[in-house]
Symmetry: C2
Subunit: 394 residues, 2 copies
């Protein structure tokens, strides 16, 4: 009598959660230092100092009624202005408060965008490896997610396959760069090619095709590599941003949707986003955390820790003979499994107390994801276990 | 090319917001003290002291990573345990953490419940006067909201009309008590009658019919009147609770869904709720505010201020000849308009700088809502304007 789809979604725990729960159980059995849990993308670097300062300042100096009041549904105007100014200074754009809609993290942003855009049966294209919850959001909004196979050479985008896949039902494309789980950053060249194709296809089919840029990892970039800012390449872009990783606030659910000022009829899109927010049961993003991010708009957590972890892990595994995608951003390492069945490989890894997520979860079988947002000593201590795991396959 | 429904929802500001914005503009023109803005239900009583204490304690003494981590989607187990214990001690029930799902306020709770329950075309009954966003949530989940006319005598429920309205498509009933906008509390007698009818109808139609108890105003009750706890009357109940009003945290979006332990197959409902949360783009309720409410679970804001406001306003208006529903709870007074068209009456009130919301907004034309969660001097000063307004109709 209850909707099958909701029951299925509620009962089927994500593979990542499953492993994470196993890890907690196993840690109790043999000790946390003996379990190399690389399953979950929970930042282990604390929020930067400005977050604590801002929290104390708000609690001690703001009027309690104002601090915790309902905000307008799109968010506090001054907060949105501050974020728009920051984006503009950084990317040379012309966002205003009117282009920004504060959300409960990037997930709610994605869900709202899907609901704001999709008519029944319309398609949204994304590229493996991809975050599997995209399917839930697109289908929940009545659309269909089309996943294109991974570009296993460079973990960029196979633009020929993409061009062939765009059709009259294509309403949007989701791009996630820096990418979860590969850590790859789509280059300016990739984004340019993609944008050119989309512009051609918009003309061919006579309707707008949107890019949804899912950007929770934008600030987690190493070696001074630049992440192309999609609205500067393609007008019909909405950015779904989150402070989960940049300020290490994943549990607080704070982020925004930014509608490109250069979008065709951006006011219509913004109105649809406001409507979709209501239809998702959102009232406003947390007033307290809106005010907080406005105070920390240009700060990020100490990502040198992630970089150190990445270097130790990447160098260590390559030395052991593993084939790894070189991650320029995010906090994941995507590694080729040592047998074709990556689930079987994960099971084998478990015997060495290494907990990985199979690439199948991300539409990319044959690989596994390692989340390196963990203590550096866990990475150092895990290398001998990874060595033993490699031995199993010799 | 964008969904008409989302555009319509986004463009049509709620009547309440419209008046609220007018009030802000008018305050700039003639001074805030000259505008009697009774439009919006934003608590004006600050959060109780424990909220500030808990915030400082969390910021100063909790590990920053743990404090802001992702929680499991249903919420932190210890938080849910603490809330369950509190509910049980108060109402003699047997809730556990497994029956509770933390939400971003009651609105998200209602949306999730709708999505967890409704199959396409199924009906949800509610009673005027009612919170108009119910329609958005039920329709967004593919259902249909059926509004039964108000019981204008007692502002309870016309149980005969209700019995006639329940049919084979009825999946749920939404009850909001203390009621927004009438301030009425449904009596134990009303709830008993309603429950008896539902049990009969469940048998007659051979399927479960749920009560969704929307309870943001549960703690805002005056004169020691008791609010019946619906799960003690009817097994197939989910409660949507919010700390928005009880702790004066409306902007922080924190609340929970409580599935009755006595519900038929409550585990199935809980699973569907977990699935619906995912399908709404929720990841978890704010970690920080989950921990906070657990520390303040038995506290409420100083509601003596609302009671004082209510008494001055109710007595004052009755003395001036207005017909008012006596509000036992919430912070609204529902007053009969002095002409049949309550929108016209609101316009007339505007001429005296009194800002009211027409009952039409709540499915109850002929009445107006006064939100008395305002400064007491605004109420005192408004009485002469209400007198002049009454004069206009003599």
């Amino acid at each position: 009598m209850l909707p099958e789809k909701m029951l299925a979604l509620g009962k089927k725990r994500s593979a990542i959660r499953e492993i994470f729960e196993y890890g907690k159980k196993r840690a109790k059995e043999i000790g946390a230092d003996k379990v190399f849990d690389f399953s979950i993308g929970n930042p282990n670097v604390p929020a930067p100092a400005c977050v604590k300062e801002a929290m104390l300042d708000l609690v001690n100096n703001e009027d309690a009624v104002l601090l915790h009041s309902y905000t307008s549904a799109p968010g506090i105007t001054e907060v949105r202005e501050k974020i728009a100014e920051y984006i503009n200074a950084r990317f040379g754009t012309k966002f205003t408060a009117d282009h920004l809609y504060m959300t409960s993290g990037a997930s709610s942003g994605l869900m709202i965008c899907a609901k704001a855009m999709l008519l029944p049966g319309e398609e949204v294209i994304t590229f493996a490896p991809y975050f599997s919850e995209y399917r839930v959001y697109m289908e929940s909004a009545g659309g269909k997610l089309v996943v294109l196979p991974a570009d296993l050479k460079h973990f960029q985008i196979d633009t020929e396959a993409f061009e062939a896949a765009v059709n009259k039902n294509t309403k949007a494309v989701i791009i996630n760069s820096p990418n979860n789980p590969s850590g790859a950053i789509y280059s300016a060249e990739t984004i340019t090619k993609l944008s050119d194709i989309l512009r051609r296809k918009e003309k061919e089919f006579g309707h707008t095709i949107y890019i949804i840029a899912d950007e929770p990892y934008r600030e987690l970039v190493y070696d001074d590599i630049e992440v192309p800012f999609i609205p500067n390449f393609y007008n019909n872009t909405v950015v779904c941003y989150s402070y989960s990783k940049s300020l290490s606030l994943p549990g607080e659910r704070i982020g925004y949707i930014a509608v490109s000022p250069d979008m065709d009829e951006w006011q219509e899109m913004y109105a649809a986003i406001c409507g979709a927010g209501r239809a998702c049961g959102y009232v406003c993003a947390s007033s307290f955390f809106q005010l907080l991010v406005a105070k920390c708009v240009d700060k990020i957590s100490d990502i040198s820790i992630y970089k150190k972890n990445r270097d130790i892990l990447y160098d260590g595994l390559v030395k052991l003979g593993y084939t790894c995608v070189h991650p320029d951003g995010a906090f994941y390492l995507f590694v080729k499994a040592l047998e074709p069945d990556s689930n079987a490989f994960c099971e084998q890894a478990k015997k060495h107390e290494i907990l990985l997520v199979a690439g199948d979860e991300f539409g990319c079988p044959g690989y596994v994801r390692i989340s390196y947002c963990v203590r550096t000593d866990q990475i150092e201590n895990s290398l001998s276990a990874f060595a033993a795991l490699a031995e199993d396959y010799k």
